[in-house]
C-alpha cells in the first residue's frame, strides 16, 4: 500500500514530525515501510490555464496552446490528445528540471524549443513527467482538489506536490490498517494524539432520506449497514485521488467509482453504490437477506442481487458514467450548480406527502434513529418534486443509453444513487468463502476477510464530503442503518499485568501498560483484583482476543528495542541425539566427497514422472501422486537422485566443462511415498582434466570411479547384480556390499585375539547391500549427449565410524602370487569368496594382480598371509598356497599356469 504524508495529515497532525521518525515508528510497531521517497515537483513548474488551443500548422498530432500563468501568457506546443481550452495544467517553464525517467538518465531541463516551426516556451506536463505515477495517456489536468488554483503559483507550493510517499506492507492480522485512517490511528497511538474523523456536513435544507429509500432485513443478519442517498447531476474527478489510486493500482476510468474506492482506501469502510432504477416506485426498496449459501446479500425490489456483503458488488457501474464530467470546464459549471442546489425554495407542503417510510414488519429491527432525529428538517424542504426522482419515465434501457444525448433535459442528466456502507465480521466472511467458492471482487474480499472498518459513519461522511466538493449533487439528509445485534457481543479480555511483564522479560509498571493500552483506544476496567484488569478493544480491532494479543499490543508500542536481551538459563535437554549423529555422519560423507573433488548439488525434490519411468525408476502410486504440480516437467517427487544429477552434468557440459563430478545427499520417495535418504555420486568425462602433465586428460573408467567412490564410502566389495537396472550399462554394473554394521552394539571390552581370526574369516562376515555403482546406460547417455559417465547411488547410507578396533600384528606380512588358468566367465568375487571361505590359516587377503588373455585366460592372484604370533616359514607358506590352489581346482577346475 502506498500512502503519503499528505493523506495521513487528513486525519492526524504531523506538524513538526520528522519523516524518518515516522518511518521508524511504523517499522517498530509492525507496519513495515518498504520504501520511502520524497515527492517534490521541480521548481519552475507552475499552475497555468489553457486559454486557447489551435492546431499546429505543420503537425497533425500537435496543438499550439496559449497558457496563462498570471503574469503572462505563454505559447506552448503540446502533443497530448487530452489538452483542452480552460484546463488548468502543470506547466514546466524554461529552466525547470524534470526528474529522470530511470536511474541511468539525467534530469531533463526544459528549454525554449522550436517544434516544427512553432516556438514552445515550456511544456505542459503529464503526471509521470513530474515524477508521479502515470494516471492517463496525456497531460495531467489540475483541479481544486490540490488547493486553490492560482495562476503562476509553483506546484511545489501545494502541499500535495511537496510531500513524502511511503510504501508499506501489512501483516494479514491488521485489516484495520488497510487504510490511511488505520495507519494514522496507529501513529496517533504512539504520539498519544488523536485522529480527526470526517463529520457530516451541516445541511439544514436537504431532503430527508426516508422519502426515497426503505431498507429492511428479511432475516436475522450479522452485517451492519448504513445508507445514504444522493442525487448527482455532475461529478468531477479529483487529480489527487487519481494519483493516489494509480500508485496503488486501483484507478478506474469511472469517476464515481474512483471516489468510492478512494473513500475505502482512506477510511477502510467498504462502500457500494447503486444507481436507482428509474422506473421503480419510490421510495426504493432494498432488502437484506441470506442467499441459499448463507451469504448476506442486498436485493432490490425486484429481487435482483445488488451485492454479496463484503464479497462482491453487482452494481452496474457503467450507469455512473452518465454523470461523469468529460471536460475540465465542468469544474466551473460545478461551482455554479452547487450554489443552485443549495438554494432551494422554501415551500414545504409537498414534503409532508412523503413521510419517512415505515420499517418493513418482516425486519426484526430497522434502526432509523438518525432519520427520525432530523425528521423536522425534512418537512422544511419545499422544492420536493416527485418527478425529479423518477428521472425518466421511459423504459430502463433508454435511460441508460441516453446519457450522451444532449437534447435531454438537464434534470435527466442526473442520477440518484444509494450509497451503502457495510461491515461483516471477517471471521464470518472467511469461513463462508472457505466453504463456498463464489464469485468475488478480490480487492473487496482481501479487505473484508482481514477486517474492514466497522465505523461506517466515518466512511459515509468521507464519501459525502467528496460529493460535496467534487460533484453537483443533493445529498438527502439523515442515514438509514441496519444493525440486528444490539451492542454486538463485545470482546472483554482479562489480562494480568504480571503476566505481561513476564512475557516481555522486563518489569514494567501497571501504569505504563495501562497508559499504552489507552493510547491504543482500548478500554480498561479494574477487576477487583489488583493485578488483573478487563480490557475492551476498539470495534475495528478484529484481531484482539487474548491476553497474548494484549501483550503484543503493549510490546509493539512500548518498543522491542526497549527490552534488554537476557540469556535464557534453564534446563538443558539432551542435545546429542541419533538425529544429530546421523546428520553429522552425512556431512562427514559429504566432506569426503568434497575432498575427492566432487561438487555438492541440491536439486528440486520434484521430478518428471515420464523421465523416472524412462530411466527405470519406480514412480508414486497414482493415488499418492502430486495433485497440483507447478509445471509438467516437475509433476512428481523423485525416486532417485541420478536423473537430476545427470541433468546437471549435461548442463555443465554444455557450459564447457569436461571433467564433472557431482554428488547429492537428499530425500527420495518410493512408490508408497515412503521417504528415504539417498546418496548419489556421478562423474562424467575426464577423471583428470586436460592439463600438464596430462595434456589429453585421463578418461574415467569403471575401476577408477569405484576407487573414488570407495574413498568416500569406505571399503566395499562389488558383485554383479542378478538383474541389471534400466539406467545402468548391461555389463558394467555392480551392487555395493559393505560389512554389516551393528550400530547398537559397540562393546569394546569383549575383544580378544580370537576375534581377530573371526574378522579374517571372510565367510562369517555379514554383508549388506547398500547401493549400486555402474556406467550409465549408453542409450540414456547418447540421449543426454554427454561423455562417458558413471554413477553410484547409495540407498543405505553407511556409518563412517568403525564398529571396533582390531588387534594388529607386528610381524611382516608374506605375499605369494599365483597365476592360474581359469574360465574367463567366473567373476572374481566368486573366486575370492571360495578362497576366503576355505578358512586357510593366516590368509588375510586375496586380490587380483593381473590377467593374461594370450593362450587362454590366466589370472594372477596375490595372497597375503598375516602371521600372528611368529613368522611363517617357507614350508608353512607353501602348504597354505597349495591349499588355495586345491580350492581353486576343486571349485573352478583352475590349474596353476606353468
Amino acid at each position: 500500500m502506498i500512502i503519503s504524508t499528505y493523506l495521513l495529515s487528513q486525519f492526524i497532525d504531523l506538524e513538526g514530525r520528522d519523516i524518518e521518525q515516522i518511518a521508524k515508528i511504523l517499522n517498530d510497531i509492525g507496519i513495515e515501510v518498504e520504501k520511502l521517497w520524497r515527492l517534490q515537483v521541480s521548481k519552475r513548474v507552475v499552475v497555468g490555464k489553457v486559454v486557447a488551443k489551435t492546431p499546429h500548422p505543420n503537425a497533425d498530432k500537435l496543438s499550439v496552446c496559449q497558457v496563462d500563468i498570471g503574469s503572462q501568457t505563454l505559447q506552448i506546443v503540446c502533443g497530448a490528445k487530452n489538452v483542452e481550452q480552460n484546463q488548468f495544467v502543470a506547466l514546466a517553464l524554461e529552466g525547470a528540471k524534470l526528474p529522470p525517467k530511470d536511474e541511468k538518465s539525467a534530469f531533463f531541463e526544459i528549454k525554449q524549443s522550436n517544434l516544427r516551426g512553432v516556438t514552445s516556451y515550456g511544456m505542459i506536463c503529464s503526471s509521470s513527467e513530474l515524477g508521479l505515477c502515470k494516471i492517463n495517456d496525456g497531460i495531467m489536468v489540475l483541479d481544486s482538489s490540490v488547493g486553490e488554483l492560482e495562476l503562476g503559483r509553483e506546484l511545489s507550493d501545494y502541499p500535495f506536490f511537496n510531500q513524502y510517499f511511503l510504501e508499506i506492507s501489512l501483516t494479514p492480522n491488521r485489516g484495520d490498517c488497510l487504510s490511511v485512517l488505520g495507519v494514522a490511528r496507529e501513529l496517533a497511538s504512539v504520539f498519544d494524539s488523536y485522529v480527526s474523523l470526517p463529520k457530516e456536513r451541516e445541511n439544514a435544507i436537504a431532503l430527508g432520506l426516508g422519502r426515497v429509500l426503505n431498507t429492511t432485513a428479511k432475516c436475522n443478519i450479522d452485517s451492519i449497514l448504513l445508507y445514504k442517498v444522493a442525487k448527482i447531476t455532475h461529478i468531477c474527478p479529483s487529480v489527487i485521488e487519481e494519483i493516489i489510486l494509480a500508485y496503488n493500482g486501483l484507478l478506474t476510468k469511472n469517476t464515481l467509482e474512483n471516489h468510492k474506492i478512494f473513500t475505502t482506501f482512506m477510511t477502510g469502510v467498504l462502500l457500494d453504490i447503486y444507481a436507482l432504477p428509474c422506473d421503480s416506485a419510490l421510495p426504493a426498496m432494498l432488502k437484506v437477506q441470506k442467499d441459499e449459501k448463507g451469504f448476506e446479500c442486498v436485493y432490490d425490489r425486484d429481487d435482483n442481487k445488488l451485492c454479496v456483503i463484503g464479497v462482491k458488488s453487482y452494481a452496474k457501474t457503467d450507469d455512473f458514467k452518465k454523470i461523469q464530467s468529460q471536460e475540465s470546464n465542468k469544474e466551473s459549471n460545478k461551482q455554479s450548480n452547487e450554489k443552485s442546489t443549495q438554494n432551494p425554495n422554501d415551500e414545504d407542503s409537498k414534503s409532508t406527502q412523503n413521510p419517512p417510510t415505515q420499517s418493513s414488519p418482516n425486519a426484526s429491527k430497522n434502526i432509523n434513529k438518525n432519520d427520525s432525529k432530523i425528521a423536522n428538517q425534512d418537512f422544511t424542504i419545499t422544492k420536493y418534486q416527485r418527478e425529479e426522482y423518477e428521472l425518466d419515465s421511459s423504459d430502463e434501457e433508454d435511460f441508460f443509453e441516453d446519457d450522451l444525448d444532449s437534447s435531454q433535459k438537464e434534470a435527466d442528466d442526473s442520477l440518484i444513487v444509494v450509497i451503502q456502507a457495510s461491515f461483516l465480521s471477517p471471521h464470518i466472511i472467511s469461513q463462508n468463502l472457505f466453504t463456498h467458492k463464489i464469485a468475488q471482487d478480490k480487492t473487496t474480499t482481501y479487505r473484508s476477510m482481514r477486517g474492514a472498518n466497522p465505523q461506517l459513519f466515518v466512511g459515509m461522511n468521507f464519501f459525502c464530503e467528496i460529493l460535496h466538493t467534487r460533484a453537483d449533487c443533493l445529498i438527502y439528509s439523515g442515514y438509514q442503518e441496519l444493525e440486528m445485534q444490539e451492542a454486538k457481543d463485545r470482546i472483554v479480555i482479562s489480562a494480568s499485568f504480571e503476566a505481561i511483564s513476564q512475557a516481555i522479560g522486563k518489569n514494567v509498571s501497571k501504569e505504563q501498560i495501562a497508559q499504552i493500552l489507552k493510547q491504543l483506544d482500548f478500554r480498561l476496567e479494574a477487576n477487583g483484583e489488583a493485578d488483573i484488569f478487563r480490557i475492551i478493544p476498539p470495534a475495528y480491532r478484529h484481531d484482539i482476543h487474548t491476553q497474548q494479543d494484549i501483550t503484543e499490543e503493549f510490546l509493539r508500542v512500548y518498543g522491542i528495542e526497549n527490552i534488554e536481551p537476557k540469556p535464557y538459563i534453564g534446563i538443558q535437554p539432551k542435545a546429542y541425539t541419533p538425529t544429530l549423529h546421523s546428520y553429522l555422519n552425512k556431512r562427514d560423507l559429504a566432506k569426503r566427497a568434497l575432498a575427492n573433488g566432487f561438487y555438492e548439488c541440491i536439486h528440486f525434490l520434484f521430478a518428471q514422472k515420464s523421465v523416472l519411468q524412462e530411466w527405470g525408476y519406480e514412480v508414486l502410486d497414482s493415488a499418492l501422486e502430486l495433485s497440483n504440480p507447478i509445471t509438467t516437467e516437475l509433476d512428481t517427487v523423485r525416486s532417485s537422485l541420478i536423473p537430476s544429477l545427470f541433468e546437471s552434468i549435461k548442463r555443465n557440459q554444455n557450459l564447457g566443462y569436461k571433467n564433472i563430478r557431482l554428488f547429492e545427499i537428499g530425500a527420495v520417495y518410493d512408490a508408497k511415498r515412503e521417504q528415504k535418504e539417498h546418496f548419489g555420486i556421478v562423474a562424467s568425462g575426464l577423471e583428470r582434466g586436460e592439463s600438464y602433465p596430462y595434456p589429453k586428460g585421463k578418461k574415467w573408467d569403471f575401476y577408477s570411479f569405484c576407487e573414488v567412490v570407495a574413498n568416500i564410502l569406505g571399503d566395499f566389495r562389488l558383485q554383479k547384480p542378478s538383474e541389471i537396472p534400466t539406467q545402468a550399462h548391461p555389463h558394467i554394473c555392480a551392487e555395493i556390499f559393505i560389512p554389516k554394521q551393528n550400530f547398537d552394539k559397540q562393546d569394546f571390552n569383549t575383544l580378544d585375539s580370537s576375534d581377530f581370526k573371526k574378522e579374517q574369516n571372510h565367510a562369517q562376515k555379514q554383508w549388506q547391500k547398500i547401493g549400486i555403482v555402474a556406467k550409465l546406460n549408453p542409450t540414456l547417455q547418447a540421449k543426454l549427449e554427454i561423455a562417458d559417465s558413471f554413477f553410484a547411488e547409495i540407498y543405505e547410507i553407511p556409518q563412517l565410524n568403525p564398529a571396533k578396533a582390531l588387534p594388529t600384528s607386528r610381524l611382516h606380512e608374506n605375499e605369494r602370487d599365483i597365476t592360474v588358468l581359469i574360465n574367463k566367465d567366473i567373476p572374481f568375487s566368486d573366486i575370492k569368496e571360495a578362497i576366503l571361505s576355505a578358512d586357510i590359516e593366516h590368509l588375510s587377503r586375496a586380490y587380483p594382480l593381473d590377467i593374461y588373455e594370450k593362450d587362454g585366460f590366466a589370472l594372477t592372484i596375490r595372497l597375503v598371509f598375516t602371521p600372528i604370533d611368529s613368522s611363517l616359514s617357507e614350508d608353512e607358506l607353501g602348504k597354505r598356497v597349495q591349499a588355495v590352489l586345491e580350492v581353486l581346482d576343486s571349485s573352478f577346475g583352475a590349474k596353476l599356469k606353468q
Partner: protein, 333 residues
C-alpha cells in the same frame, strides 16, 4: 713426484672429479703409493732418524688426509648438487583442474547455523517432507479459512497430504512426542507453489523452539539468542527487531541486520534502507500449545530462510542460481 716438495697439495686442489681425487689418493697412500713407500723406508733408518722421519711422514699424511677429505666433501656435494639440478622442475606447473569445494552454499550455510545452535544446546530434529494438514497448518493456529494461509501456496497430493510449507510441523511433532522442556532446531527443505526471481518451489528453513514452564521464557531471552546468533553469522552487525505477525507466535517480530553490503549506508541490495530482513520470531502462540496439549508453559520460536542467509553471507545475488548447480558457482565455494 716427490712427496717432500708437497706439490700433492696443489694436486688435491686441482682435482676436478672424485675419480681424479681417488687416483691421487692411491698414488700417495695406496699400496704402491709414494707416501706408503716412504713409510716402508723407515725400517731401514736408525732409531733416532726413524723417529724424526716418522713424525714428518705422519704430519704429511695427516695434512694430506685432511685436505683430501675436505676436497672429497666439496666434490661430493658438487656432484649431488648437479644430480639434483637435473631433477629440477617448475613447481608452478602444478595446475589442478579439479577444485575442492567446501560444499553447496546452502548446505554450507545450514551447517554453520546448525553448528551454532547445537553448540548452544539445541537438539537437532528432523521431520518428514510430506505432511498433513494438522501438522502443517491447523496445529499452528492456521485454520482452513485463515487469510494467512493465502500467504502459502501449497503443493498437495491426491490423498490430500501436502509438502510442508515450512519446517514448523517438525516443532509440532517434537512437542507431541516429548514433554517440556524443549530446546530444538529443525532445519530442512520446504515447498511453496511459487517460482520467480525471488521464489523457488523448494527452499530451506531453519526454525528453533524453546519451551519451558510458564513465566520462564520471555521476549528478552529471544532477543539475546538471536542477536548473538546473527553476530556469529555476520560479524559485528546492528540488529533491529520490528513488530510483526505470524499465526504461530505472539508477540511476533521480524529481525533485520544492518546491511552487510553497504554497512547501513543504503544500497541496491537493501533497497536503500540500510537494513536487511533475515529472521522471523516471537513468543509461541498459546493456540499452538493448546493444539499439542501443553499447559502452563511459555516458549519462543524463530525461523529463517537458509537461502536468504546464504545469499547475504556469501554475496550470491540470484536465488535461482542456487538450484541450477552450475559448476561456475559451485567451484567458488
Amino acid at each position: 713426484m716427490s712427496i717432500l716438495d708437497k706439490s700433492f697439495l696443489d694436486k688435491i686442489q686441482s682435482s676436478k672429479t672424485l675419480q681424479e681425487l681417488e687416483n691421487l689418493r692411491v698414488e700417495i697412500l695406496g699400496k704402491k703409493g709414494i707416501l706408503t713407500a716412504q713409510f716402508a723406508l723407515l725400517r731401514e733408518l736408525s732409531q733416532e732418524e726413524k723417529k724424526q722421519k716418522a713424525k714428518e711422514l705422519n704430519e704429511l699424511k695427516n695434512t694430506f688426509e685432511s685436505l683430501y677429505l675436505a676436497k672429497k666433501a666439496t666434490l661430493e656435494s658438487a656432484k649431488l648438487h648437479s644430480a639434483l639440478e637435473k631433477e629440477k622442475i617448475d613447481v608452478s606447473l602444478f595446475n589442478t583442474t579439479q577444485n575442492r569445494s567446501v560444499g553447496h552454499p546452502i548446505n554450507y550455510t545450514k551447517d554453520k547455523i546448525i553448528h551454532y545452535f547445537v553448540s548452544m544446546g539445541y537438539e537437532l530434529c528432523e521431520g518428514p517432507l510430506v505432511e498433513d494438514d494438522f501438522h502443517n497448518f491447523t496445529a499452528l493456529n492456521l485454520p482452513k479459512y485463515h487469510p494467512a494461509r493465502e500467504m502459502q501456496d501449497t503443493f498437495y497430493f491426491n490423498d490430500s497430504k501436502l509438502l510442508r510449507t515450512h519446517t514448523s510441523p517438525v516443532q509440532v511433532r517434537t512437542m507431541l512426542a516429548q514433554k517440556p522442556p524443549i530446546k530444538m532446531i529443525c532445519p530442512g527443505a520446504t515447498f511453496r507453489r511459487d517460482y520467480d526471481l525471488t521464489h523457488s518451489p523448494m527452499f530451506h528453513q531453519v526454525e528453533g523452539l524453546l519451551v519451558d514452564e510458564v513465566g520462564k521464557v520471555s521476549f528478552a531471552h529471544l532477543k539475546y539468542v538471536l542477536e548473538n546468533f546473527l553476530k556469529f553469522m555476520f560479524g559485528e552487525v546492528k540488529v533491529r527487531f520490528r513488530s510483526s505477525f505470524f499465526p504461530f507466535t505472539e508477540p511476533s517480530a521480524e529481525v533485520d541486520i544492518s546491511c552487510v553490503f553497504c554497512g547501513g549506508e543504503g544500497c541496491r541490495v537493501c533497497s536503500h534502507s540500510g537494513w536487511l530482513e533475515v529472521l522471523g520470531c516471537g513468543l509461541v502462540n498459546d493456540n499452538v500449545f493448546k493444539a499439542v496439549g501443553y499447559e502452563n508453559v511459555s516458549g519462543y520460536a524463530f525461523g529463517m530462510g537458509i537461502e536468504r542467509l546464504c545469499m547475504l553471507s556469501l554475496g550470491i545475488s540470484d536465488m535461482r542460481s542456487l538450484y541450477e548447480n552450475d559448476l561456475a558457482l559451485l567451484e567458488q565455494f
